[in-house]
Amino acid sequence: MEIFLNIVSAALIAIFVQNSILERALGVNVLLYASRKRDNMLGFSAAITYTTTISAPLVWLADTFIGDFEYYRVIMPLIYVLIIGIIYILTLILIWRFFPKFFRSLKKYVHLSVFNCSVVGALFLCSQQGNDIFSYLGYGLGTGIGFLFAAYLLYTAAGRLNSPLVPAAFRGYPIMIVYVGILSLALYAFTGYTTSAV
């Protein structure tokens, strides 16, 4: 039960308090692409969730066993990329072997959804925030769900954001960034402040 609560609390923190998009701005360019279509949004979110969740325990292993190395902070990206790369290749081989049709539709954007700021950044945040393998796992899972949460909020507003009422120069990328900024402001309250400070 304690393990389960550990995972859930880490996941909730990753979704609401330290959302990789709204709080950390990681993977915003992927978010803008993913939120255009419903299928894209679900596909990207699933790929990110899968990669961060599966990679998190391996990252924990690396952090635990070679984390004391003097220059670990500068070789961390290389190690994390290799971990993601291994998972990416193995997964693609499995999908190609057992679900060839799915593989064909997947390979168009799978590299975009796996090698991006959101995934790499999430693993770094696991390393910073996590204490044990379960919190790593929860944080990895929560990052993916947090991406889906942000992508859904942007997806539902996409129609209005691209309406003719928005000035032409702001339509598309600029207004979406402003909108994400407003959402980020709304979630800012979750990080906690007291009324006396306002």
Binding site: N29, L78, V81, F124, I175, V178, V180, S184
Partner: protein
């Protein structure tokens, strides 16, 4: 291929921060002061430039699904010396405060996407210039963001105090970064669109002027031969000046051009330019005809220009001017 590449693209039209949003996480979350921006720019520049150059050697027979891993791993390798250098220059504390935003540079879209869709289709020397322009475009936007956010948040630039009416501390936060980038991206686009439309109007004006010259060429060439003693360049300069004076063809038509010396001279310049631009055959219309004519004939362009006689040839001249002007406009769009 070389002519089709606009090396300004990376700086303005496809600016990574304000136009395409290819890499904005470090800018939004990390570029809160000038010094931090400089650290981001430093690491980004080294990692991106070195990775794109080296990864060009990777054979394209390897599928992209695998190449993308090699690109990212190569970037991660270059990240090591880049961040060690950055620590030596900016201090370990500042680099540590950048948190996850320096490592995520290894997955930036310049390396993973732009290299595949643009850089690796270019000749090597052009690619190097193009990559540098893209990197400088990012650096400029990142530095601007850092300066402005530091100033607005604390009334300082690079640590030095600068007078400010009121401070906006929220500029240091992530949502402040989103709002700043979003608003500036809109303004940047508005400015870009304004300049683009303005340039398009000017091109349209020149084209119309050329068409007008086609109609009037026959008359003008016959009337003012004496003015042709002026050098070709001088006449073209006058022609450009006249075009700037008129906003559109209607305004030009409103002028009593026969009594307006500048406009008259401008038309003569068109004729003179046209005579230099007479192509040997119709296929030359899409190229820089003046150069081609001079090259193929082996004679100086000025000598060609002074030998116009009959109205038939004058009509050809005026038509060539129109073709030349149109070509210039088209090239302006793509190169």
């Amino acid at each position: 291929m070389e002519k089709r590449i606009n090396l300004k693209d990376g700086f303005i039209k496809q600016n990574m921060v304000f136009m395409s949003g290819l890499l904005i996480a470090p800018v939004i979350a990390c570029s809160t002061t000038l010094v931090r921006s400089m650290a981001v720019c430093f690491v980004f520049s080294i990692v991106s430039f070195a990775t794109i150059l080296l990864c060009r050697l990777i054979p394209r027979t390897i599928v992209y699904t695998l190449r993308v891993i090699i690109y990212t791993a190569t970037a991660a390798v270059f990240y090591i010396p880049a961040v060690l250098l950055a620590e030596a220059i900016f201090g370990e504390a500042l680099i540590a405060s950048a948190g996850v935003y320096l490592p995520v540079i290894i997955t930036n879209s310049l390396i993973l996407t732009k290299a595949e869709t643009r850089f690796y289709h270019e000749p090597f020397s052009i690619m190097v210039k193009d990559v540098i322009v893209f990197i400088l475009g990012f650096d400029a936007a990142c530095a601007f963001t850092g300066i402005m956010r530091e100033y607005l948040a604390s009334g300082r630039i690079g640590g030095a105090e600068v007078p400010l009416l009121f401070e906006i501390p929220a500029m240091e936060t992530t949502f402040g970064g989103f709002l700043f980038i979003g608003i500036n991206a809109g303004l940047f686009r508005a400015l870009y669109n304004y300049r683009k439309n303005h340039a398009a109007e000017s091109e349209e004006g020149e084209e119309s002027l050329a068409e007008y010259a086609e109609d009037m060429g026959e008359f003008l060439v016959g009337k003012h031969k004496a003015e042709r003693e002026k050098s070709s360049k001088e006449k073209i300069r006058i022609y450009r000046t006249a075009i700037k004076k008129t906003k559109n063809i209607n305004e030009l038509l409103d002028m009593e051009f026969l009594s307006n010396r500048d406009v008259l001279e401008a038309f003569e310049a068109i004729i003179a330019e046209g005579q230099e631009m007479v192509p040997d055959n119709e296929e030359g219309a899409g190229e820089d005809v003046a150069e081609e004519t001079a090259d193929t004939s082996g004679e100086p362009a000025d000598e060609n220009s002074g030998e116009t006689a009959g109205p038939e040839e004058e009509k050809k001249v005026a038509a060539a001017v129109a073709a030349g002007e149109k070509t210039e406009g088209e090239n302006g769009d793509i190169s």
